[in-house]
């Protein structure tokens, strides 16, 4: 017994190591940075002085006070969380039928269709964003089509480029596979006998879905939502390239602090808040998923 638990602990050592190295240590560094002063030319000022044999700390709460001085940051956080939620929701709406369709195909077709789902990963992220810039451009096919349609109803032309619409569409496009894959994994292993049983007991196709397939797929939905929500919350490239002035997200501001404003301490404050928000979401999602799995 003793030996066994000892070995099990050994097995958990590498993952614990990664977590410490790639999550805990950087977080602690950021937390520490959020209490320091900015350096004169960017970076961080020294955190202590040693003058005339006198040792003195040079830390401050100013950066955290700044967070609460203006509501702009809170609003930006809320807006970013809203974007992430909306993206997750749209990914569920689009990804669920897709995952279900693939899971109900014969085995051989399933592998091919899954390959198509992950195919975009094989091209560079920025290349795919630029592709959407072409699609959204005033002369692009999508804009032309939308304006053609609007014209039929006597409505004026719109521009899609540099708009929140463009940002959301692209966010959904980029993150859709992160929803489809866990959902597919869940749907594929659901026993078809349960659907037969439900049908046998009087459930039509809609009720079979609503009473059997859907509740059993909730763990997949929670897993997929986490995988979509977190990267979207930290996304800055898509709002940067495709968004207008009103579609910037919290990550754009964080990037701004580190790059343009050269205010690392305040960037660290914002990063810390975002990390905490993300961790809370993961904990909530994992809890919901575990409850689902315990029954599933």
């Amino acid at each position: 017994m003793r030996r066994k638990t000892w070995r099990r602990q050994l097995l958990t050592l590498p993952p614990t190591g990664y977590l410490l190295l790639f999550f805990a240590v950087p977080s602690i560094i950021m937390l520490f940075a959020s209490f320091r002063y900015a350096g004169e030319y960017g970076g961080l000022a020294p955190w202590y002085y040693y003058e005339a044999g006198e040792f003195s700390l040079d830390l401050t709460l100013e950066n955290w006070q700044r967070l609460f001085e203006s509501e702009i940051y809170l609003l930006l956080f809320l807006k970013s969380i809203g974007y992430a939620l909306l993206t997750s929701l749209l990914c569920i709406l689009l990804g669920y039928p897709l995952a279900l369709m693939i899971a109900r195909r014969p085995k051989r077709q399933r592998d091919l269709l899954l390959l198509l789902v992950i195919l975009p990963f094989w091209s560079n992220f920025l290349v795919r964003i630029y592709a959407w810039m072409i699609i959204f451009s005033p002369a692009g096919a999508l804009t032309q089509m939308v304006n053609g349609l609007l014209g039929l109803f006597g409505l004026g032309p719109v521009t899609l480029m540099y708009s929140t619409t463009a940002v959301i569409v692209t966010l959904v496009y980029v993150h859709l596979p992160f929803m489809v894959l866990p959902l597919y994994a869940n749907l594929e292993k659901q026993s078809p006998a349960l659907l037969d049983a439900a049908q046998d007991l009087g459930a039509n196709s809609w009720r079979r879905f609503w009473h059997v397939t859907w509740p059993l797929s909730l763990p997949g939905i929670y897993a997929g939502s986490i995988l979509v929500f977190i990267p979207v919350l930290g996304m800055f490239a898509i709002p940067d390239l495709l968004g207008g002035t009103d579609s910037i997200m919290i990550a754009n501001v964080i990037k701004q602090q580190f790059v343009e404003s050269r205010d690392w301490p305040f960037g660290s404050v914002l990063s810390m808040v975002m990390t905490v928000a993300a961790v809370l979401v993961v904990l909530l999602g994992a809890r919901l998923a575990r409850q689902g799995v315990a029954r599933g």
């Binding site: 026993s191 006998a193 349960l194 037969d196 049983a197 439900a198 049908q199 046998d200 007991l201 009087g202 459930a203 039509n204 009720r207 009473h211 059997v212 509740p215 059993l216 689902g292 029954r295 599933g296």
Partner: protein
């Protein structure tokens, strides 16, 4: 009454069911029995509506079920692995067919509670299925299928996942339950013992055909073919040719053994010159060391080749003059039996005039 009329089913060129005809009476415990792959599940799935026949019709009380989807057929299926919904409690599982039928909430609660008592698990309502044992899952699956009183209950090898002891107990429970609810059971199994124990009538299937439909005792006593005789219980199969037919009995020349007289059933198609098989149950085959003239119609010399002590009975395998091995069963409670036969003993194998049953080839 369920009628299956000329039902055929082909998968590509493979014929899984070939013009199957059956009539199952209301309230009957009817079993489909046959070796693996003979088409039992295929037939059951067509009755349930999960599969459609290529030809033929399935009628319930004279009305065709073919166009009715499974969810609207007044029957339920017990699946082999129970197929309980893992995300619902036991009570929610049992309530499922009632909810689908649009029953009122208060009514559902009462009927679920009664269903749980019927299967003697009144306090399991709040548990999830994965907290139940195999036998308990089985009972919940049955409670769920019977709660809204279907016309038919279809059971596809429902006991095959249980161990022998529990299986026997569940068999007794099924018999009692079927009698209580009075619903027609159509039961699928490849276990002939189970079929004999449970059923009012049995349809023996082979290769997509119905071979014989009869009551268990008639199926055992009067099989209509070598296949049925061999499949149901143990049986000695002695090949031969009919040499004479009298009223009520026939003379058969058994291959390499000699002639015997045997009783024949009316309409058995016995005719002089036809090849036939004399089927002889081991418990009707007597062996002894001394010749006892008069009683038996047939006497053959043989040597004990092998024996199997089973506690209540001993099975002796005796080699006859033509090299055939016949089995004889001796109850170990038989009075006056002085000693066990030993392997190598010369014995005499005998049977009465009405012990064997003749089937034509």
């Amino acid at each position: 009454m369920l009628e299956i009329k000329d039902v055929s089913r082909r998968f590509d060129s493979f014929v899984a069911l070939d013009r199957v005809n059956l009539t199952i009476a209301a309230g009957e415990f009817f079993t489909l029995l046959g070796p693996s792959g003979c088409g039992k599940t295929t037939l059951l799935r067509m009755i349930a509506g999960f599969d459609q026949p290529d030809d033929g019709d399935i009628l319930l009380d004279g009305r065709s079920l073919i166009a009715t989807p499974p969810e609207q057929r007044p029957l339920h299926t017990i699946f082999q692995n129970y197929a309980l919904f893992p995300h619902m409690t036991v009570a929610e599982n049992i309530a499922f067919p009632l909810r689908m039928a649009g029953c009122a909430r208060e009514e559902i609660a009462g009927r679920v509670a009664r269903a749980l008592e019927d299967v003697r698990l009144p306090d399991k309502g709040r548990h999830y299925p994965d907290a139940l044992s195999g036998g308990q899952k089985q009972r919940i699956a049955i409670a769920r299928a019977l709660v809204n009183r279907p016309r038919l209950l279809l059971l596809d090898e429902p006991l095959s996942a249980l161990d022998a002891k529990l299986r026997e107990q569940m068999q007794l429970e099924l018999i009692t339950l079927q009698k209580e609810v009075g619903i027609t059971f159509i039961y699928v199994t490849h276990d002939q013992g189970e079929a004999l124990a449970l059923s009012h009538r049995i349809a023996v299937m082979n290769g997509g055909h119905i071979v014989q439909v009869d009551e268990p005792s008639r199926l055992y006593g009067f099989p209509n073919s070598r296949f049925v005789a061999d499949f149901i219980g143990h049986c000695n199969l002695l090949g031969g040719v009919v040499t004479a037919v009298q009223t009520g009995d026939a003379t058969v020349e058994l291959d390499g053994l000699g002639t015997v007289q045997t009783v024949i059933q009316p309409a058995a198609g016995v005719a002089v010159g036809r090849r036939c098989t004399l089927t002889l149950r081991p418990e009707k085959t007597h062996i002894s060391t001394t010749l006892t003239p008069g009683e038996e119609a047939a006497h053959f010399r043989g040597v004990v080749h092998d024996m199997l002590y089973l506690g209540d009975v001993t099975v002796y395998k005796v080699e006859l003059a033509n090299g055939m091995i016949v089995e004889a069963l001796l109850a170990n409670s038989a009075p006056g039996r002085a000693r066990f036969f030993e392997v190598g003993d010369a014995v005499e194998v005998a049977w009465r005039l009405d012990a064997g049953h003749l089937v034509m080839e």
